[in-house]
């Protein structure tokens, strides 16, 4: 029997993926959604009984971008829109494609794990891991038929990521994130929009439902 290459890992569906040179046919959304829905953020050091997973975080980030998108068109913009600091033209730019990018912003971690940021930023590690992560993300985007996200999309995702980090830190960490560098200045009321971690299977189902919905929205955009 032929042995599996040293760079490969087996996924939950029985596929093998080459972590150093992933190809499109090795990628499966259900595979990494499954992994993300059970992968803890903050290296598992959270106060809650259940781990807060990368999958749940990705869903939250997509929700924040979607909220930004819907509130721009609303005549009564709420304080949430004011909080973001985005100009209307940038917020108007958001489509289901940006939402899909938001959902997938940590997708590579479904194969490569959620490494703590200080480790990722180590000299040498940053370049090596960054290159592997980059290859993985390109393969995922190709699989989903998405172009590489542009600067605006990256900025919106970065903001939503930090917003989610601020809220998560407030609810999940002992320090409430007060001394963290990347947290935003959010009002006490704003940080209350938080859902406690739920079971991995629920997160997986939510992730896949959201993926299907956004896929349908993107397809209908193309048909117009």
């Amino acid at each position: 029997m032929e042995k599996v290459a040293a760079n490969c890992i087996e996924t939950v569906s029985g596929r093998y993926i080459d972590l150093l040179n992933p190809t499109v046919d090795q990628i499966d959304v259900a595979d990494f959604a499954w992994a993300l829905s059970r992968m803890p953020r903050y290296a598992g050091h959270t106060l809650t009984a259940l781990p807060y997973t990368v999958g749940q975080h990705s869903i939250v980030v997509t929700g924040l971008i979607e909220r930004l998108m819907t509130q721009v068109s609303s005549p009564q913009r709420t304080s949430f829109y004011e909080l973001t600091g985005f100009r209307q033209e940038i917020a108007n730019y958001i489509t289901p494609i940006q939402l899909m990018h938001g959902l997938m912003h940590d997708a590579s971690e479904g194969y490569l794990l959620d490494l703590p940021t200080p480790l990722k930023n180590l000299p040498g590690m940053k370049e090596a891991y960054g290159a592997i992560e980059d290859k993985m993300m390109r393969a995922i985007w190709q699989k989903l038929g998405l172009a590489e996200p542009d600067t605006v999309t990256r900025d919106v995702i970065k903001w939503a990521d930090r917003y989610a980090l601020t809220v998560e830190a407030h609810h999940l960490m002992k320090s409430r994130g007060t001394n963290w560098t990347h947290v935003l200045e959010l009002d006490m009321v704003a940080v209350q929009d938080f859902e406690l971690p739920t079971s991995p299977i629920h997160i997986y189902q939510q992730f896949m439902q959201l993926y299907d919905r956004l896929g349908g929205d993107i397809a209908s955009m193309g048909n117009k």
């Binding site: 601020t166 409430r176 994130g177 007060t178 200045e185 959010l186 006490m188 209350q192 938080f194």
Partner: protein, 191 residues
């Protein structure tokens, strides 16, 4: 008293939060131990006090929990109108601290609220079990009807029915609390 199945939702706590922050920024209130107290003078019908616990957040000190008390004009006893602690700060004894500031430090007589969530029910049970205050049951519609309240075999023992399913127009039994060393008057300069 009745049991409220759901907990307090955002439309109820958010206006209170905004009011307390505004009052704090305007420099209202005084400190009682670790708690800030602000009072709104009533318009004749009654008056309201907030006992608020502030904690440091990324945006500076912010209220993380408060005890809102209401008193009908001419009454001596304050009624708990709202107790709210943000979910991330629960389980740290903040609610107990707020009650102690009102009852022990300020010497107020407190009556429990009309509606009890499962959390507030637990809180009062804890007060009775640990004998934190002098607690008794009192029918506020028939003021001569009172009963002792004890903790026995894991539940409250009293002669009156504390929790009813329907509103009874003739009877409304509340739990009352006073400091154990109460000397007959409020100790606060505010009220």
């Amino acid at each position: 008293m009745h049991i409220l199945e759901r907990s307090i939702t955002r439309p109820y706590w958010e206006p209170r939060y905004r009011l307390i922050v505004r009052q704090y920024q305007d420099g209202w209130g005084q400190k009682v131990k670790n708690t800030r107290v602000t009072q709104i003078r009533g318009t004749g019908a009654g008056s309201v006090i907030y006992y608020t616990k502030f904690m440091n957040t990324a945006n500076g000190p912010r209220p993380v929990g408060w005890l809102m008390l209401w008193k009908k004009a001419g009454w001596f006893c304050w009624e708990v109108s709202q107790l709210w602690v943000f979910p991330a700060y629960r389980g740290q004894g903040i609610a107990g601290e707020l009650y102690k500031a009102a009852i022990n430090a300020d010497g107020l007589m407190l009556s429990s609220g009309k509606l009890h969530t499962k959390h507030s029910r637990c809180l009062w049970e804890n007060f009775i079990r640990k004998k934190t205050f002098n607690i008794w049951a009192h029918d506020i519609k028939q003021l001569d009807v009172t009963s002792d309240v004890l903790w026995e075999d894991g539940s409250i023992l009293t002669a009156l029915t504390l929790y009813t399913e329907k509103v009874d127009r003739k009877s409304d039994v509340r739990l009352m609390a006073l400091a154990k060393d109460w000397h007959g008057k409020s100790r606060s300069k505010l009220y």
